[in-house]
Amino acid sequence: MNYYVSFGEREELISVEEAGVAQYRVTLGNKTFVVDAHRVEENTWSIILDGRVFEVDLLVGDEEISVYLNGDLYPLKVVNEQQKALSRTKETAEGGKQLLTAPMPGKVVKVLVSEGEEVGPNQGLIIIEAMKMENEFKSSAPGKVKEIFVKEGEVVEGGDKLILIE
């Protein structure tokens, strides 16, 4: 099977096939490896590659896979060929949107912007209190506040939409 794996700017086409019990023949660019990959705990894989040992923790989403390796986080996007073809058609439609969601349950202390307002990069948007700490969330890029989904004083759950910037 072939997968498009992206990490940051880099995208690679990686092909994987079985080569024995917990063994995989993997091609990346012009290099082919035989990878010994055992799932040793629920989210943990022990990988031996050319004799070298790696222990990776994987947090697996649908297309997103977070790989923890020696304390470093490698956020990957892994799609198969069908998904890749689909996403090509969608790509042009989106772009430039920032949807701010609540990372955990908390209470909206203050909304610092209003709908229609132009915001700069790194500008404070909203203050959420969680576990007795107030946390200010900022914009990652300039844009215009398209929609505010919450009110001050409202209690939010993790994942709830907060503010949409365009």
Binding site: H38, W45, I47, V67, Y68, L69, N70, G71, L76, M131
Partner: protein, 503 residues
């Protein structure tokens, strides 16, 4: 000696105190809120009583209920740990009235040191150097603006009743001061029920270095040298060590003497910590005195061999210190990393939740002070600290190498933790060289991290592709199995009999 002690706390520090009592042959009484019935501190104690619902105000901060449990259970003394009621002078006073011994200082010492302004006035008289600033809370916005001008920017706004970075704001320019004041007051109010704020000179490139002291009821006061606590995020310590890689012997000696003088100024009894800011020229200024056991006390225990909690209990029981200042030695080097249920990749956002999997590091020179177990749900009502990992090495280089090794063995899943963050700090060149101040994490570390090229992108990408391949294979096999084809061929993909049980 006491025969029974009530531990008025939860989490790792309650476990720490219970362990000390158990080793001393003293029975312990645990107290718990509804969400903590399964917690280790309840299970490790000899007796346990419920306090009330989860919110701290109805449980761990409920003085009268705790006193009632102490009475009912026959506890002669109360160890307050840190946080909650540990520095509450009113609680100390109530215990004095009730004739229950608090394992800590007198309510009077607590009252004086608990008010930052009163503390500064008192230690200044004893010859302890303090940071330029106001000694009283400031009432009006005008007063704040005026005082800041006098001291000169940058200045720091601080909650008078505060601690732990809450209600604290750095102001570099007059244009920011009023909004910062409002934020500080609001946090101070919600955290401590008191919005008093004072102001002081902000010291550039400051190090946070503190001295552990022990004082008995016979007038003996000793210090156990310093702890370097400059590695902070959001003004909260996350990594501590002893000795400090920055302090020289002469400064160490003077800081120790000054700390002992500060303790004597309030007739201090029991364990306490005198915190200092140290500038680049090794001038040091009194910050505050913590009138309780400190989170980071284990690093001092590892280098001095002294069990601070056991000493606290002996002191409270009226025993004199069993050693003199001259007998206290700093041997080797110790480092502590605080493991929080926080996401270091999202600004240390708290992540309470269920600990699905837990593997603790082991081997020589490693100590794990934890309050959790696999299957425990970290409640969202309290501090999200999971554990403290402490290592000892014969020197700082060995301690750092050992901490890296131990962190790499530490597995906690189900919640995000600060373990990966600590590994990255241990690998940071500035940290290894001892070249940092309290701004290091926010100002230097994360900038360098953002620029650092990750060393194994290909391995990560291969792992991701294989995981995806295996998942698709499993799904296709499962659908075949459901449709009646290929049953049994699944066995090919389970690698060991009995092993697949949990996964």
């Amino acid at each position: 000696m006491f025969s029974r002690i009530l531990v008025a706390n939860r989490g790792e520090i309650a476990v720490r105190v219970i362990r000390a009592c158990r080793e001393m042959g003293i029975e312990t009484v645990a107290v718990y809120s509804d969400v903590d019935r399964h917690a280790l501190h309840v299970r490790y104690a000899d007796y346990a009583y419920r306090l009330g619902p989860a919110p701290a105000s109805e449980s761990y901060l409920n003085m009268e209920k705790i006193i009632e449990v102490a009475r009912k259970s026959g506890a002669q003394a109360i160890h307050p740990g840190y946080g909650f009621l540990a520095e509450n002078a009113e609680f100390a006073k109530r215990l004095e009235e009730e004739g229950i011994k608090l394992i800590g200082p007198s309510s009077e010492a607590m009252r004086v040191m608990g008010s930052k302004t009163l503390a500064r006035q008192t230690v200044t008289k004893a010859g302890v150097p303090v940071i330029p600033g106001t000694l009283e809370p400031l009432a009006t916005e005008e007063e704040v603006v005026e005082t800041a001008r006098e001291i000169g920017y940058p200045v720091m706004l601080k909650a008078a009743a505060g601690g732990g970075g809450k209600g604290m704001r750095l102001v570099r320019d007059e244009s920011e001061i009023l909004s910062a004041l409002r934020m500080a007051r609001s946090e101070a109010k919600s955290s401590f029920g008191d919005d008093s704020v004072y102001i002081e000179k902000y010291i550039e490139k400051p190090r946070h270095v503190e001295i552990q002291i022990l004082a008995d009821s016979h007038g003996n006061v000793v210090h156990l040298f310093e702890r370097e606590c400059s590695i902070q995020r959001r003004h909260q310590k996350v990594i501590e060590e002893s000795p400090s890689p920055f302090i020289d012997d002469e400064t160490r000696k003077r800081m120790g003497e000054v700390a002992v003088a500060a303790a004597r100024a309030v007739n201090y009894e029991n364990a306490g910590t005198v915190e200092f800011l140290v500038d680049a020229d090794k001038n040091f200024y009194f910050l505050e005195m913590n009138t309780r056991l400190q989170v980071e006390h284990p690093v001092t225990e590892m280098v001095t061999g002294i069990d601070i909690v056991k000493e606290q209990i002996r002191i409270a029981a009226g025993e004199p210190l069993s050693f003199t200042q001259e007998q206290v030695r700093q041997v080797g080097h110790a480092i502590e990393c605080r493991i929080y249920a926080e996401d270091p990749d999202r600004n240390f956002f708290p992540c309470p939740g269920l600990i699905e999997r837990l593997r603790t590091p082991g081997g020589p020179g490693v100590r794990d002070d934890s309050g959790v177990f696999e299957g425990f749900e970290i409640p969202m009502h309290y501090d999200p600290m999971i554990s403290k990992l402490i290592v000892w090495g014969k020197d700082r280089a060995e301690a750092i190498a050992r901490m890296k090794r131990a962190l790499s063995e530490y597995v906690i899943t189900g919640v995000k933790t600060t373990i990966p963050f600590h590994i990255r700090v241990m690998n940071n060149r500035h940290f290894i060289e001892g070249d940092f101040d309290t701004n290091f994490i926010d100002k230097v570390f994360f900038k360098e991290e953002a620029e650092r090229e990750l060393p194994e992108p290909e391995v990560a990408m291969l792992a991701g592709a294989i995981e995806r391949f295996r998942r698709e294979l499993r799904e296709s096999l499962r659908s075949k199995e459901i449709s009646g084809e290929g049953i049994g061929s699944l066995w090919k993909y389970t690698y060991r009999p009995g092993f697949g049980k949990k996964f």
